[in-house]
């Protein structure tokens, strides 16, 4: 097991390196640069700017400096847009925020989704089932970005219950709407996947055997059905986990939370190369780590899998 983990992590290093190279060149390929502006600076000023940020060097040299700085000093470079902050600052400030509301959304989506899915499967073909299924489908089919304005109108303007945005150190009032907005659609899909997986398990032979032996329904579900049900759910949760922790640009836009989602899309649009690369690397590392964790969880759920 340990050697498997080590092997996976070793493979991750060249993967991340290739990721850096791919993104670096993709980024520089996009038209415009960090200093393209409505008032293009005179050539002398532009030259000063490029010299200051090392953009006058050949691309391979920039890439080399970038990678060595990361390896030697864990320094991801300065932001081209925000003059008083570097990438480390921006990630240190935005990531905990994304992490907090992302993780809470993940918890909300998976716990509610799994419970709803199980209940629907256990009460198959009753009104509870139909109700949960339609709820899940509706949640999944609505484009998640319309949740933002709807929630703010309802809770801030009409009901006056919650502040319309901001983060404020993550106080609960500021967390409610982002978490609802982000978790809804995942909740829908998780409940649907759980339901169909649970149905399948409940129809399988070993559950029938357990029933035939006269085990109480509760024991059957808790002791026997739950674990195999989680298998397909797990493989869905892995990518969702990464996505929820990072890709919530619409939450940041609507709720002014200050997370990394906005920093990421903003840096792509303003060609803030270093921030874009820094966040991409973070996403890449997260993806690799979460994939590994998912596989380990698989092994735990399914004793047939051995690494």
């Amino acid at each position: 097991m340990l050697s498997y983990i080590i092997r996976r992590l070793l493979v991750a290093i060249p993967t991340i390196l290739l990721l850096i190279i791919a993104c670096f060149f993709l980024m520089h390929f996009a038209p415009g640069g960090p200093f393209t502006s409505e008032r293009p600076p005179p050539p002398a000023v532009l030259a000063n700017l490029e010299a200051r940020y090392g953009l006058d060097q050949p691309l391979w040299k920039q890439l080399w400096d970038y990678v060595t700085n990361i390896v030697l000093h864990f320094d991801f470079g300065p932001s081209f847009k925000f003059k008083d902050r570097d990438v480390n600052d921006i990630i240190a400030q935005g990531f905990p925020i994304s992490l907090t509301y992302g993780f809470l959304s993940f918890l909300a989506a998976s716990s509610v989704g799994i419970v709803l899915g199980c209940v629907a499967a256990i009460r198959h073909n009753t009104w509870i089932d139909y109700f949960t299924v339609s709820l899940g489908i509706a949640a999944q089919a609505l484009p998640n970005f319309i949740m933002g304005p709807i929630l703010i109108l309802t809770f801030t303007l009409w009901l006056g219950l919650l502040p319309g945005g901001g983060w404020n150190g993550g106080q609960w009032q500021y967390l409610v709407m982002p978490v609802i907005a982000l978790s809804t659609s995942y909740m829908g899909s998780i409940s649907r996947i759980t339901r169909s997986s649970m149905l399948e398990v409940l129809n399988s032979n070993f559950i029938r055997t357990a029933r035939a032996k006269g085990l109480p329904a509760r024991t059957i579900i808790w002791r026997h059905a739950l674990k195999p049900t989680m298998m397909p759910v797990m493989s869905y949760l892995g990518p969702v986990f990464v996505y929820v922790l990072t890709g919530s640009v619409f939450v940041d836009i609507y709720f002014s939370t200050g997370g990394l989602g906005q920093a990421f899309v903003g840096s792509a649009l303003s060609r803030d190369y270093s921030v874009l690369l820094g966040v991409t690397i973070l996403y890449g590392v997260l993806t690799v780590v979460v994939n590994l964790l998912t596989d380990l969880a698989y092994a735990w759920l399914d004793p047939k899998i051995r690494y």
């Binding site: 700017l49 925000f82 003059k83 703010i152 303007l157 945005g165 002014s256 649009l269």
Partner: protein, 542 residues
């Protein structure tokens, strides 16, 4: 206005509230209006500011903060007139090439140090320094300070720049060319002083709230990127006793509709009006919906360079297209926020500017349309040989609406087939800057209140002349305007040439359209540049 959620915001703000101010609960010293207990002004900004370093800042939201944190030689009053700042006054030599500013002796930094002429020398040299590499180095060049270009290019040392501290309270600037409106330019943030000791101690991080030392009416106390920034009364400010607002909070809200919702919920004192919502809001909230002219122009530019389409080389085609754009529909139905129809490039509100008698402005739209059809037919385009071109704008809801409306006007009235393409901002700038377009959107806001800030774009040498319009006469007029005592007729003639040659289609002049809480006093609606200072505002008790 609903006040329900105020509770939360007020709660969070009062935690760091500075107590014991002179005006809370009193009356305004000049107007006599009752003042609110809570003198906190909260406004929305579209985007996170990029910096609050006076020499580095380049965006509007950053400049607004910098104007509160730092004070330059001169300030603007509510009408945009020049009033003393750190300098009590200035003298100029007879040909306007040497300006001498006298500084007040009671100006202090927030750490108690006096503000001296050497702080300005340091700041101005810093602004020109190739090492700092500020994007606003060009402003130092624009001010025509002696040796500016050489210093920026790194050919001369910083101290060659034409700025000198004659003594602690006398600051002298030498210009390479006479510039009658030079004092106006010292209200711009690039020229604000910087505290040498602090900058040298902390480097780029000197503007973080824990390090910053400033000389304006406020100090930066909190900055949560992409969320909010807070500035509070600077007790060391020389005119602190006259300052009424205690605390100013800028909330970053990217989405304008959400911002309006939060304004309606009482979380904000000021927000921008989404396009098209002004008529409704001014009906429902007449006290709060405000609109006033601004020093900005919205236009479309033809590509007249070699890479531009052959059709646009014909002035009749350009004129026909310009005539057909029904500006009234755009200002009244699309934007609907008190914008004014544009028939000249520089806004009519610009100081010392008189637009020429444009024939077009006095015609009715039907007459313009008829004339356009004729012109286009003369140029050889008609139903069987329709004019086709591509118009380009950068991605935004508002620009999209205007582009769609214009293309439909052309299509329905002239049978012109227009292909619309929108590009993401940076791509758009790159494409436009490389003359890789046919017709492209443009907008320009004045850096200072003088027509040259607009008309210089029409100079064939200008780096901002993306349409590559060339006219020897315009170049000549603009050059003589630099030194002339009476510039008004010169600028009028430039506009006349623009009206005849139609290198651009002016669409409208901007308006500041806000929802502003009726308890905010003294918002400078007459300041066309919208250089506002929180120290001049106050909150009225409700």
């Amino acid at each position: 206005m609903q006040k329900k959620t105020r509770l939360f915001v007020a709660g969070l703000l009062s935690s760091t509230f500075i107590t014991g101010t002179a005006f809370a609960g009193g009356t305004h010293p000049t107007t006599g209006e009752p003042l609110a207990d809570d003198q906190t002004f909260i406004y929305r900004v579209l985007d996170e500011h990029t910096s609050v370093d006076p020499q580095v800042v380049e965006d509007v939201s950053g400049s607004e903060i910098v104007r509160d944190l730092f004070e330059g030689l001169m300030n603007q009053d509510a009408d945009g007139n020049l009033v003393p700042g750190v300098a009590t006054g200035y003298t100029a030599n007879e040909d306007n090439t040497v300006y001498t500013f006298t500084l007040r002796d009671n100006a202090k930094w927030s750490n108690g140090d006096p503000v001296t002429a050497s702080d300005f020398v340091f700041a101005w040299q810093r602004a020109a320094s190739p090492e700092l590499a500020s994007a606003y180095q060009w402003y130092i060049e624009l001010m025509s300070i002696e040796n500016a270009s050489a210093v920026i290019a790194g050919d001369k040392p910083l101290d060659a720049l034409g700025v000198k501290a004659l003594d602690d309270l006398t600051f002298e600037v030498t210009l390479s060319a006479p510039l009658p409106y030079f004092p106006q330019m010292t209200t711009h943030s690039t020229t604000f002083p910087a505290p040498q000791k602090v900058v040298e101690m902390h480097g780029d991080a000197w503007i973080k709230p824990e390090n910053i030392v400033s000389n304006g009416a406020y100090v930066l106390t909190e900055h949560l990127p992409q969320e909010r920034s807070t500035r509070e009364r600077n007790t060391m400010y020389w005119d602190n006793d006259a300052t009424i607002i205690d605390k100013v909070v800028a909330l970053v809200i990217n989405d304008e509709n959400v911002a309006l919702t939060r304004y309606m919920a009482g979380e904000l004192d000021r927000t921008e009006m989404p396009a098209g919502q002004f008529p409704r809001m001014s009906k429902e909230h007449p006290e709060e919906a405000i609109s006033f002219p601004r020093l900005c122009s919205y236009y479309y530019t033809f590509n007249l360079s070699d890479s531009g389409p052959e059709e646009f080389k014909d002035v009749r085609v350009r004129k026909a297209l310009a005539l057909t754009v029904d500006r009234k529909i755009i200002t009244e139905n699309v934007m609907a926020g008190g914008q004014t129809e544009a028939f000249s490039f520089a806004p009519v509100a610009t100081a010392g500017f008189e637009p020429p008698e444009a024939k077009m402005a006095s015609m009715s739209q039907a007459e313009r349309d008829a004339m356009a059809v004729e012109l286009l037919a003369e140029a050889g385009f008609g139903k069987d040989n329709p004019l086709k071109f591509n118009m380009m704008y950068n991605t935004s809801e508002g620009h999209k609406k205007i582009a769609v409306a214009m293309s439909q006007m052309w299509k329905q009235k002239l049978g012109v087939e227009v292909e619309l393409s929108n590009q993401e901002w940076k791509v758009f700038l790159e494409t436009r800057g490389n003359q890789d377009f046919e017709l492209a959107r443009g907008a320009w806001c004045g850096d200072y209140n003088e027509a040259s800030t607009f008309l210089d774009l029409m100079d064939s040498e200008s780096g901002y002349n993306d349409g590559k319009f060339e006219s020897a006469r315009v170049d000549e007029l603009l050059a003589s305007a630099k030194t002339s005592g009476d510039t008004t007729p010169l600028y009028t003639e430039v506009e006349q040439i623009i009206a005849n040659e139609v290198p651009i289609i002016p669409i409208y002049h901007y308006a500041g359209v806000y929802m502003m809480d009726s308890d905010v006093g003294n918002w400078p609606v007459n300041n066309v540049q919208q250089n506002w200072y929180s120290k001049d505002l106050y909150k009225i008790a409700e």
